[in-house]
Symmetry: C2
Subunit: 337 residues, 2 copies
């Protein structure tokens, strides 16, 4: 049987890499990585090519519509995992996918459950892409995946897990709001199942591993690490105050993505940490099908196991590039002061 041709935009990002792994593990797909022309010779892409994955050049910001259509030739399922700043670059991609006859378009979701319309800027940009997809009558699946295990923990006083904890998370409110969490490594495994499942065609899907409150996550880490963790609380009012300031700063300098990132982060905390949007129940209310209904036999990675890896120094550092960018931006700011 011929393998299904799957195109993947953004294979070098965290989500993209997980999806790539999921597709490879599954084994039933012929994978075409759509890569910026300037990145074709990057070691990571050369490695992809050496492992038998077809590389095709695609520059969503500069290519003509015809060129994008040509890059999609023969692709049956088109997956996009573009980075946060690139959401709207998927508008020409969706239009090209319709022309190219793509049988299922899976634009970049992969966030927590958030309702569209003013709660989160990234979600609203995704909604623009979803709405264009629907307007085009292009077959679709929209996949969200909750919050990653990998970014759910605070730092430990010993510094032991600093190597893998990007942000020293605060506890929102009283820390009693449940939130759907997923191991980043499971995201791609779910995606490989979802995209060839007829039940998920033209549907929104939430894939997630486990539901935890922040208080429970902090308790778990203390238990696993044998260290007391200082609990830094942040209230709804504080978050809303910060959000107002961050929005002003971002509007004053719309080209500075780092400023926008503060808005993005704070809106996440307000959505999953305060409003409580990121639950399977709310997802169902919004029209999602969940991975628990679809794949009751799937064996999710456990948050407790991830915590053990983390404390044992065996977790993988994520967002290496983004951290370097943030560090550079911080140093620049320091120099200017």
């Amino acid at each position: 049987m011929a393998r299904t041709k799957v195109g993947l935009v953004g294979a070098s990002g965290e989500t993209g890499a997980s999806i790539l792994n999921g597709l490879l593990e599954d084994g039933s797909f012929e994978i075409i990585a759509l890569v910026r022309p300037s990145s074709m010779s990057r070691p990571s892409n050369v490695a992809l090519k050496d492992s038998g994955i077809e590389l095709r050049a695609l520059d969503l910001d500069n290519d003509s519509q015809d060129k994008i259509v040509a890059a999609l030739e023969g692709i049956e399922i088109l997956l996009s995992a573009v980075g946060a700043p690139g959401q709207l670059s998927q508008l020409p991609l969706a239009t090209a996918a319709k022309t190219a006859g793509v049988k299922r378009f899976v634009p970049c979701g992969y966030v927590t459950v958030i309702p569209p319309g003013g709660v989160h800027i990234l979600r609203d940009q995704k909604e623009e892409v979803y709405n264009l997809t629907r307007r085009l009558n292009l077959p679709y699946t929209f996949i969200d995946c909750g919050w990653w295990y990998q970014i759910s923990f605070p730092k430990l006083p010993s510094g032991k897990i600093d190597y893998a904890v990007m942000v020293d998370n605060p506890i929102c409110g009283k820390g009693d709001v449940p939130s759907a969490l997923t191991d980043l490594r499971d995201v791609g495994r779910y995606v490989a199942k979802v995209i060839r499942d007829e039940r998920t065609l033209n549907k929104m899907v939430l894939v997630y591993d486990e539901v935890w409150t922040q208080k429970e996550v902090w308790d778990l880490l203390e238990k696993v690490a044998g260290e007391k963790v200082e609990r830094k609380y942040v209230s709804q009012e504080e978050l809303e105050g910060r959000l107002g300031e961050y929005k002003k700063a971002a509007e004053a300098d719309p080209t500075d993505f780092m400023k926008m990132l503060h808005v993005v982060e704070t809106q996440y905390l307000l959505s999953w940490g305060v409003r409580g949007d990121n639950t399977p129940e709310y997802a169902k209310y919004l029209g999602y099908i969940t991975s628990k209904e679809l794949y009751p036999d799937f064996k999710p990675l456990k948050l407790e196991d991830f915590a053990r890896e983390l404390v044992a120094g065996e977790a993988k550092e994520i967002y290496v590039e983004m951290k370097a960018m943030m560090k550079a931006a911080f140093e620049k700011q320091q120099q200017q002061q």
Copy 2:
């Protein structure tokens, strides 16, 4: 068994009147009509009161949030059929419905199947109301009903059906685009079923009677009336050209609803007549459940029967008030020239 308390905003409009009839025919609801304070003494509302329907004053444009909440007290299902210009007045209504503990909010849909995001201004205003509803985590059903039989016919050369045909419809493109049609009198009958159906909670529902192309409708009218009808075609390009002009005129004078109405009408023709949005298939793709799936035993009124009524002079004139408004606006324009 206690009857379910249903609140209805906009009972005096065409859709509202159909809903009211549907609820009364059903017999299992206690109906509360929410009426503008200035309209409480109108003969139609006095008649409602005399027939045992509770009237409550509600002014969505001016009442405080507390006052709106108070007007909704005890209402279990809240239906809104506000007029075209009043879509956004439902934003405070949705917020109040959440506070008042409404168990199901059915905001004003009752249009053709249209995707959100730039195809139709009314649909996009409804999307704002839908998005707020979802953000509030307020139980909902969003109901659309296709295009009414009552506005699907052209005029006859004999003038025989001018009494009930509001607009002398053109044929869009080649007239071969299928569209879901519903007798206005059936809308309320469907609504009475949908609003107490657990399967439609937090869902979008398309209710419709029959699917026809314009060519077929014109053929039907000729057969029933025994008259040849002149077929006036309008192309996609013409409609798009008009739309551009109408948008400019409406933007230049945003307080003139008659100007906006030209935009609204033209966008409808482009959506159901050219794009072909108004079909059960596209509705399902967009996530709707349809009345055919839900109520296979429902006996819809037939378009052919309606055509016979129309030709026999037995159809009801609709939009009497709006026609008077349009006539006045037209005469004013003539005077100014």
